[in-house]
């Protein structure tokens, strides 16, 4: 029927294609697409945790309530701060580390790559509990060291003080976020066309010029990808909050993701929690789109 493929071949490709796709498609549709659709549906209802109790369709009531909910607005604000701080810091830090190590020999290169990836591998629970100990008011090393150096003169309750709690969380988040960007930047930098770099050097370009005129444009797609994944990760910051502060003190570390969890599992308001989830997804989609647009224009 169509150009180069005979009808028999086309049918064969269709059948075998879908047979190979089927097992994966079952899991994908069942446990990713279906929950996504039901997330949107439930956000318009007053659903609770039990799937058997009848739910009422309440139109946009959940969405209207969100913008009057001070805890949600505080959580949104904190989440935006986390993203605004962590995304640039992660990008610049990992680009610097990657440029410093990508020309090393295989041994030291993989040593540094592994070291910066270790906090990710260690797992959020193990990392969080050790930081909790280090931040501790009475026997944490931060108070000991800072008093020793003379920066502070009496112990600070880092996680219990609204002035410091969010900054403390962001610091841990940063150490668990740079691993993947460093691996990506190392690989991107070693794929930069070496003949261009050499030609520029022959022409007398300085290192700074070589970096901005030749390397930077070529690693742009990687930067874009890192921006997107770091944004998504920062938006989803949850384990740290749940294990360290539960959003306190006085909502100083409340984030959207933690508040979604709290609404759904402590208040049993699934519909309302899903409305927040939809808003969060829309935020991330808009941000990713902006980042793609910016990168395209360059």
């Amino acid at each position: 029927m169509k150009q180069t493929m005979s009808p028999r071949l086309r049918r064969r490709e269709n059948i075998s294609g879908y047979l190979f796709l089927l097992p994966s498609l079952v899991f994908f549709l069942g446990f990713v697409v279906y929950p996504m659709v039901s997330c949107i549906y439930l956000s318009f209802t007053d659903a609770n945790m039990d799937a058997n109790t009848p739910t009422k369709w309440i139109w946009f009531a959940n969405y209207v309530e969100l913008w009057q909910d001070e805890v949600f607005l505080k959580g949104l604000w904190n989440t935006i701060i986390i993203v605004l701080v962590s995304v640039p810091v992660v990008c610049i830090f990992s680009l610097w580390v990657a440029s410093a190590i990508h020309k090393m020999k295989e041994g030291p290169l993989s040593f540094f790559r592994i070291v910066f990836y270790l906090p990710v591998i260690t797992g959020s629970v193990a990392v969080t509990v050790v930081w909790k100990w280090m931040y501790n008011n009475y026997y944490g090393i931060f108070n000991y060291l800072l008093k020793g150096v003379g920066v502070i003169d009496k112990n600070i309750n880092w996680l219990g003080d609204p002035k410091y709690a969010l900054a403390c969380i962001i610091l841990i988040l940063l150490t668990t976020s740079v691993g993947q960007p460093i691996v990506l930047y190392v690989s991107a930098l070693s794929n930069v066309d070496q003949s261009l770099v050499e030609a520029a050097e022959v022409d007398g370009a300085t290192n700074t010029q070589v970096f901005w005129k030749i390397r930077w444009p070529q690693i742009m797609p990687t930067t874009l990808y890192i921006l997107v994944i770091t944004t998504i990760n920062s938006f989803q910051c949850f384990a740290l909050i749940q294990l360290l502060t539960s959003g306190g003190p006085n909502y100083a570390t409340e984030t959207i993701m933690y508040y979604i969890y709290y609404t759904a599992f402590k208040l049993y308001r699934f519909g309302y929690g899903n409305a927040m989830g939809v808003v969060l997804a829309i935020f991330i989609a808009i941000l990713s789109a902006i980042q793609f647009r910016m990168a395209k224009e360059k």
């Binding site: 446990f31 629970v125 993947q180 050499e198 290192n207």
Partner: protein
């Protein structure tokens, strides 16, 4: 290796010094977990930290293993001997990560091959759906997922954690990247030789995408081991916990016994770090291939 690219010699020396200082900072939490797990309660709660334990003790691990007993395994009506909770949690975690890994590798390598090499109707739509899903925050779907799991009767069951992990489309995307590299002539030749589809897959396709499968396997294993949020909302009863969840629960109950908590953290972190170190080459490859054209 091109010389003289990294600027002046002084700058390069400063770079190395800063890198080593950073490496020490990044390694410190892990060091603190490991040494902390072997310190006495007095050393732990002293305001002056012991940078190296003056006295080693296994007390923290003894306390850890004396808490919360659970049967070693439960398969249908078959119940194993009673063991410390932490042992059961480790077994649960290994089972979860291995099952998630095997199922993901199997389904994703087949689907990735189909998307890369088969010209079936609707291929573009399926692929766009996969890419769109990957850009969404994974955690958002977890709340509706609980209702789905409880209506399927799988709430508080380790499979409620495994199945969504397998469904996450990153693996399919990664395997498609690898399968793109298979030359069409090889598939054509296999077909002319009379090999059926399944045989072509096992003898021609699989050997070509094997490095990709390795990368995906280690990637899935580690991510599943550490996916705390998913485990937290799906698993509740004491004998069904994973090791991360178990440590988190203990932390909530004995929040001041940092020695005990560090012993738990060491038990959760050391096995997965060892796995990572053994397979880290594949891991790096998986990260970079998954990002190409991302």
């Amino acid at each position: 290796m091109t010389k003289n690219n990294g600027g002046s010699k002084a700058y390069r020396i400063i770079c190395v010094v800063v890198l080593i200082a950073l490496a020490i900072l990044f390694l410190f939490p892990l060091y603190w977990i490991l040494t902390g797990s072997l310190k006495t309660p007095n050393a732990i709660s002293s305001p002056i930290p012991q940078w190296w334990p003056q006295e080693f003790t296994l007390r923290n691990f003894e306390v850890l293993f004396s808490k919360r007993s659970a049967p070693l395994f439960e398969i249908g009506s078959l119940v194993g001997p009673t063991v410390p909770g932490a042992i059961r949690w480790l077994i649960n975690t290994v089972f979860m990560a291995v099952m998630a890994m095997l199922l993901t590798c199997l389904t994703a390598s087949m689907a990735g091959y189909a998307l890369a090499k088969k010209r079936f109707t609707g291929r573009g739509i399926v692929f766009s759906l996969i890419v769109a899903a990957m850009a969404l925050p994974k955690q958002v779907i977890l709340i509706p997922l609980i209702r789905e799991m409880s209506s399927l009767g799988m709430y508080d069951n380790i499979w409620a954690v495994i199945l969504p992990t397998v469904g996450w489309p990153f693996g399919v995307f990664l395997m498609k990247q690898f399968a793109e590299g298979i030359p069409g002539e090889m598939l054509e030749a296999a077909r002319i030789d009379g090999a059926n589809e399944l045989r072509t897959f096992t003898t021609v396709v699989y050997p070509m995408i094997k490095p990709g499968v390795g990368a995906l396997a280690i990637f899935t294993f580690i991510n599943s081991w550490n996916d705390y949020f998913l485990q937290l909302i799906m698993l509740t009863s004491s004998s069904n916990l994973t090791i991360s969840l178990g440590i988190a629960t203990m932390q909530a109950e004995n929040s001041t016994d940092y020695g005990l908590i560090m012993a738990g953290a060491a038990l959760a972190a050391v096995p997965i770090i060892v796995v990572f170190l053994i397979f880290q080459k594949y891991f790096t490859k998986g990260i970079t291939m998954g990002a190409v054209k991302g």
